[in-house]
Amino acid sequence: MNVLFVDDDEAILEVYRQEVEAHFENVKPLFAHNGLKALEVIENEDVSLVLTDGNMPKMDGLQLAKNIKDKKLEIDVIMITGFHKKVDLMKKEELGIKQILEKPVDFDELLKLISSYL
């Protein structure tokens, strides 16, 4: 299974990589630094789950989620953000966001979430 992590912070992506690789054998972590790059990855790879940050340059998490929904790609998008207040709970569905996790994320919770897609 391919899981795409989107965040403009390299260090955070590295931490995600370490966690996934340490706990899953059949989950391949993919990475992108912003929404635009994420869409490129989705075009080229078969992605099952997207875990994205909110604030990013070029295209932020909200826009990425909306794009994915509009394209009817049928990929679940989970937002991990430190500033989630911008997303009204009502808008979640509108934007196609499955769930919002607050930074700093509870890694155990995150791993549990990923394993639910296996």
Binding site: Q18, F83, F107
Partner: protein, 506 residues
């Protein structure tokens, strides 16, 4: 008389040989003249008595006429007498006197005739009277018109002022022996001047300074303003001016016009406006505080996540960690968790634009908020006793940010109140549950609130703290936040001061 012997002289009768056809008419006429000339002075005397307004020269002339006529009369009498007698000495004296008086009278007449000419004739008098009557009517008409105008203006002013929570007062200055104003007599002229405005209706004081000693303070400077306005014929506006006795703010206009003897002072209650201003300022401060908190928390979140991940990675890299190493990792996790919660709490200070109400697990939220104070309370040697745990949480409807701000405010106040306590300092928190609401009771063993202050404690501006202390949130805002959530904030005290936050259940 005068050494002249007249006894041997002939009476006048001899000159006309006592012919009766001459004697009788001549003597008769002389006597008649005497009688007439005696009554004329009586008339003059009556005139003099009745006309007290005569000036000196008139009186003199009148007197001289009096004498002149009287002497003339007497001269005729003695003339008649001397037809049978020879008292020519007396006749001579009388004639000389008469001559002198008539000369004097003639001279006076010369001076008085021009004045007499000037006296208006009867027609002129009547004309003047008519003119005066006409002018009087005109004046009366104008006065009644003016009176009507004034009444209209007065009524308009009254109507306007009665609609406003204020009063217009007249101040009459009282000067000291040094010529300086040291007090004012005051009187309410118009306006509600109700208790709300802090003035008794129709109050008249003989001493502004004795009745309202606070006007002499630096705080409102009212007395100095009054003096300045009065002395310089100025209009001075103080906006706002604070009256501590009634805890209200007034827009005060001190006005003295040049053509008036009094100082007029108009008070208009602007407390509501000041409150609104302060609320807006408070809100602005809160918003910027919140933005700062939000910004800081956001900046810390990402590195914190990295720290968490790296700690886990480090733990994973040690194949067989020792017990000591395991303890260290636990402590690391705990610390990271604490930082995380602190960030959550900080974010709660960041208000959104709309205060929306959500379902909240109240115990969890409260415990997280209290944890933010742990260190601070320890620093102040305050024991925090929480009478509930996160077990069996209760769902309420509220706003996390608002609850956080209210609790922050109450605990900050408690910390301030407990500063002066030497013995054990305690804050006790417990939860009471009712069918449709919950009560969060925050009690501290600090000094009790003064009885007269309790009623005012949720009022804006009311403070027992020094300037610069506190978060600027204030109990009045806390109460407002509580009522916005369809709850309430109250204070009770028996042994201890207890603030009670009431929130509706979901």
């Amino acid at each position: 008389m005068f050494g002249i012997d007249t006894s041997g002289l002939m009476p006048h009768g001899h000159c006309i040989r006592w012919k009766p056809e001459l004697l009788l008419p001549i003597v008769g006429s002389d006597i008649l003249i005497f009688l007439s000339y005696t009554t004329i002075p009586i008339a003059l005397f009556i005139f003099y008595k009745k006309r007290k307004d005569l000036n000196f020269s008139s009186k003199l002339t009148l007197f001289l006429f009096f004498l002149f006529i009287q002497l003339c009369g007497i001269t005729h009498l003695i003339s008649a007498y001397n037809y049978w007698n020879s008292e020519y000495g007396i006749e001579m004296v009388l004639k000389v006197l008469t001559a002198l008086v008539s000369v004097a009278t003639a001279v006076c007449m010369f001076f008085i005739v021009p004045q007499l000419i000037k006296l208006p004739s009867r027609e002129e008098h009547l004309k003047l009277i008519d003119e005066l009557r006409r002018l009087n009517r005109e004046l009366e008409d104008r006065v009644s018109e003016r009176t009507k105008e004034l009444n209209e203006q007065k009524n308009l002013l009254k109507t306007v002022l009665e609609g406003m929570p204020g009063a217009i007062m007249r101040y009459v200055p009282i000067f000291g022996s040094d010529g300086e104003i040291n007090d004012f007599k005051t009187r309410v002229l118009m306006g509600k001047a109700s208790e709300e405005a802090g003035l008794d209706h129709n109050i008249e004081t003989n001493s502004l300074v004795k009745t309202y000693p606070e006007v002499m303070t630096d705080e409102n400077n009212h007395f100095n303003r009054c003096v300045r306005a009065y002395m310089n014929n100025e209009t001075i506006i103080d906006d706002p001016m604070y009256f501590s006795r009634t805890r209200r703010y007034f827009r005060t206009v001190h006005a003295k016009k040049e053509d008036s003897d009094n100082l007029f002072v108009y008070f208009s209650d602007v407390t509501q406006r000041e409150y609104t201003k302060a609320m807006a300022q408070n809100n602005a401060r809160l918003i910027s505080l919140g933005e700062l908190a939000g910004g800081i928390s956001h900046e810390i979140n990402s590195p914190l996540q990295v720290l968490n991940g790296k700690t886990r990675q480090l733990k994973r890299s040690i194949k067989e960690p020792s017990e000591e190493q395991l303890i260290v990792f636990d402590e690391l996790n705990e610390t990271i968790s604490k930082i995380s919660h602190t960030i959550q709490n900080l974010k709660r200070l960041s208000r959104g634009d709309v205060v929306s109400l959500h379902e909240i697990e109240v115990k969890k939220i409260l415990l997280e908020i209290f944890s933010l104070f742990e260190q601070r309370l320890k620093n102040h040697d305050i024991n925090l006793k929480i009478g509930f745990s996160s077990k069996n949480d209760i769902s309420i409807v509220g706003n996390e940010v608002s609850i956080s701000q209210i609790i922050n405010n109450i605990i900050f106040n408690a910390i301030y109140a407990l500063k002066g306590i030497d013995g054990t300092r305690e804050i006790n928190i417990n939860l009471q549950e009712e069918e449709d609401k919950i009560f969060v009771n925050l009690e501290n063993n600090g000094p009790l609130i003064k009885e007269e202050d309790v009623a005012h404690i949720f009022e804006p501006y009311f403070t027992t703290k020094e300037v610069g202390q506190g978060t600027g949130i204030g109990l009045s805002l806390s109460k407002k936040l509580a009522t916005e959530m369809k709850g309430d904030l109250q204070v009770f005290q028996e042994k201890n001061v207890c603030f009670q936050l009431q929130l509706p259940k979901a």
